[in-house]
């Protein structure tokens, strides 16, 4: 499916209450166009629940289900098995959660569902912090970033640890499909969701979705920030299909400082910390590349 072939029909409609420039809203609107009407959605407590499904309003044109926070993959499991019982296996059951709901509190249920190869598509929209509760640090927050729980103080400033590598963890589960995507690379994004839609078993896609509110960048620059993440190597685009890994786009290795300077959350970073992050990016890319070569 080409970008221009995306259907006009909105399955995640206008009228939702996301912030201006919300990357998650862009991701959801577009992935729903790819997945189509025969999709059922499980969504935990997160921004997406609030801006898309606050009674009596609903932005979703497909079945929508919320249960709790840490159990997206567990609920998607129940839904998926129920569709099997009812002979409606042509349905795509999608669990979609943020990075906190996936990489932190939701990882147990996620790992269990992946190990059992449950028939579902699990999407992590990665905005690199707990945005719904007001920008707290998550396991997916990058090194150095300001959040409200890693505030810039006199003794400490920003996150001291590096971003958790969730896609790698998911690949270790040997599931049919794992991919990283970005709203800044929309054709690649479409390709991956289209591929996932047409597969059975456990599929995982992690989408990079900037959050202007939490990242402190211009609301008009969401896509630009997403593109810069890929260009610098802060976010790499690859996929693992039935055990074979393919890098979809090699980073230009633009200096990471170019990415940092457009966001307020990194404004306080000292030169030595920027260097430390640059080293991490470089070695992560090298590792990703070697990993892809090993699993071609």
């Amino acid at each position: 499916m080409k970008l221009k072939e995306l259907p006009d029909e909105e399955l995640f409609t206008r009228g939702h209450t996301a912030c201006a420039g919300c990357g998650a809203a862009v991701a959801v609107r577009n992935l729903m166009k790819v997945l189509g009407k025969r999709t059922m959605v499980v969504n935990p407590a997160c921004c997406l629940l609030i801006f898309g499904a606050t009674y009596p309003y609903l932005a979703w044109k497909v079945p929508f289900h919320h249960v709790a926070f840490e159990n997206t993959a567990a609920c998607a499991t129940g839904m998926s098995r129920a569709m099997k019982v009812r002979g409606k296996e042509d349905t795509v059951v999608m669990g979609i959660a943020g990075d906190g709901g996936t990489a932190d509190i939701g990882i147990q249920a996620l790992s269990g569902a992946a190990e059992r190869n449950e028939d579902m598509l699990y999407v992590m929209y990665d905005n690199e912090a707990y945005m719904n509760t007001g920008i707290q640090r998550s396991g997916s927050t990058p090194f150095g970033a300001w959040t409200t729980t890693t505030p810039v103080g006199k003794v400490k400033a920003g996150k001291a640890d590096f971003k958790k590598d969730m896609p790698l963890i998911m690949m270790a589960h040997n599931v049919p499909y794992v991919a990283t995507a970005s709203i800044g690379n929309i054709q690649d994004f479409i390709n991956k969701f289209e591929k996932a839609r047409n597969m059975k078993g456990f599929r995982y896609i992690q989408v990079f979705t900037p959050c202007p509110t939490g990242w402190r960048h211009d609301t008009a620059k969401t896509i630009e920030v997403a593109k810069l993440a890929v260009d610098t190597g802060m976010w790499t685009l690859y996929e693992c299909e039935n055990g074979k890994v393919k890098i979809n786009r090699k980073p230009k290795m633009t200096p990471v400082s170019e990415y940092l300077k457009v966001q307020g959350r990194f404004r306080h970073m000292k030169e030595e910390d920027v260097r430390k992050l640059q080293d991490w990016v470089t070695s992560k890319w090298e590792a990703d590349e070697r990993y892809a070569q090993c699993r071609q």
């Binding site: 999709t39 009596p56 609920c75 499991t77 129940g78 098995r81 129920a82 249920a109």
Partner: protein
């Protein structure tokens, strides 16, 4: 009818098979484990047509049951103790969504200290979770109540989840003869599942579990409260229809024994009831006017039925296999609320915690204390810790 010597765990698993549960998500925990093993065997032998989800935790077990039920499928699960505690977060979601999930709870002590034997302290924190809760006294009742649970839970009038409770080891691991219900008879009693509210269906779009602002919450809570009150009628009907079809009347909300002319009555839950039953017979033979109320349903609580009995007797004792630290047994607290304003001596006996035996002698002691209070109208000690070292008896 096939009669078989089986454990309470087998009876529970068998009941879920005969009720045609189509999705089971469960996790092993002592002493519930055999339930999930039996269900797995039924499925792998082709006797049970069911999706079994070998989840990685009880939290996921309950979550998967909630979503499968919300997607229009009859569900079953089972747990104990710490597992139930791990499910805690999802229990009020099941009732809030008005989902008729049925769960067997093998009541086991809650840590700490860690202990695997019978106690009711695991389910007591779930009192306000919106789950209908019934306590069984024997393995026959376990099987029968699983079937009745679906009949009570499903349908617009109630639409609430049900926990069928059985005492750890005393029922779960002890064999007793059970009349196993055959499929044709079960099908006649438990009709095919037909969801009552909106369900998750790709052919009929609905949302289940959306974010709800203050403008609508009071009404949601009220509807769930009303459903729990409606359950009283549904429980009575389920029992009546069952008794007519199978010839076994378990009593509905409560099962009173020899209370009509009794001076002293003991209120019990679970297997302590059979022990007390024996003692009532023994003491009656000696001309002592004692009676027993087997408290079957803990939620909804049978306040009016108990008050009607209390009005006719001179003293009531409540036996608790649980404690609410600093105030007394939960069943005692509830009972005092039911008899509020009555001039009646009420005593609490806390015992059998962590699998400590509740003997005939213990129950005789309780009745003697009650008869004394009935005679004098005075309660010397309102809460007694039975046979506890360091505590005056």
């Amino acid at each position: 009818m096939v009669s078989k010597i089986c454990t309470g765990n087998y009876a529970a698993a068998y009941g879920s098979m005969r009720s045609r549960a189509r999705t089971v998500a469960a996790y092993p925990i002592t002493p519930q484990t055999f339930i999930v093993e039996h269900i797995s065997e039924f499925i792998n032998n082709g006797e049970m047509d069911c999706e079994y989800i070998e989840v990685e935790s009880e939290h996921t077990a309950m979550s998967a049951c909630v979503s499968a039920s919300a997607s229009g499928v009859r569900t079953f699960t089972a747990t104990s103790s710490q597992g139930l505690a791990l499910m805690h977060e999802i229990l009020p979601i099941a009732s809030g969504m008005r989902l008729p999930v049925v769960m067997a709870v093998v009541n086991r002590s809650i840590a700490s200290p860690i202990n695997i034997w019978v106690e009711h302290n695991d389910i007591m924190p779930e009192r306000d979770s919106g789950w209908i809760q019934v306590f069984c006294d024997n393995n026959q009742e376990v099987q029968d109540m699983i079937l009745q649970a679906y009949r009570i839970a499903e349908g617009k009038r109630v639409a609430l989840p049900v926990a069928v409770c059985l005492d750890a080891f005393i029922l779960s691991h002890t064999v007793e003869p059970v009349d196993l219900i055959e499929q044709d008879a079960a099908d006649k009693y438990v009709p095919e599942f037909s969801p009552t509210g909106a369900i998750l269906d790709p052919d009929d779009v609905a949302a289940v579990g959306v974010f709800t602002p203050p403008d609508y919450m009071m009404e949601c809570r009220w509807q769930t409260d009303k459903a729990m009150r409606n359950a009283v009628e549904a429980i009575g009907e389920a029992n009546e229809v069952f008794a007519k079809q199978f010839g076994r009347d378990h009593g509905g909300m409560i099962d009173p024994y020899m209370v009509d002319d009794a001076e002293a009555v003991l209120v019990t839950m679970g297997t302590a009831s059979s022990t007390a039953h024996e003692v009532v017979d023994e003491m009656r033979a000696k001309g002592k006017k004692v009676g027993l109320v087997k408290l079957r349903f803990w939620r909804p609580y049978p306040s009016e039925l108990l008050r009607a009995i209390a009005e006719k007797v001179k003293a009531v004792g409540v036996f608790d296999r649980a404690v609410s630290y600093g105030i007394g047994g939960p069943s005692y607290i509830e009972f005092r609320n039911a008899v509020f304003g009555l001039d009646l001596p009420v005593m609490n006996f806390i015992g059998g915690l962590g699998g400590r035996d509740v003997s005939l002698q213990d129950v005789r002691f309780m009745y003697e204390k009650l008869l004394e209070a009935a005679r004098t109208g005075v309660v010397k000690r309102d809460i007694t810790w039975m046979g506890t070292r360091g505590v005056e008896q």
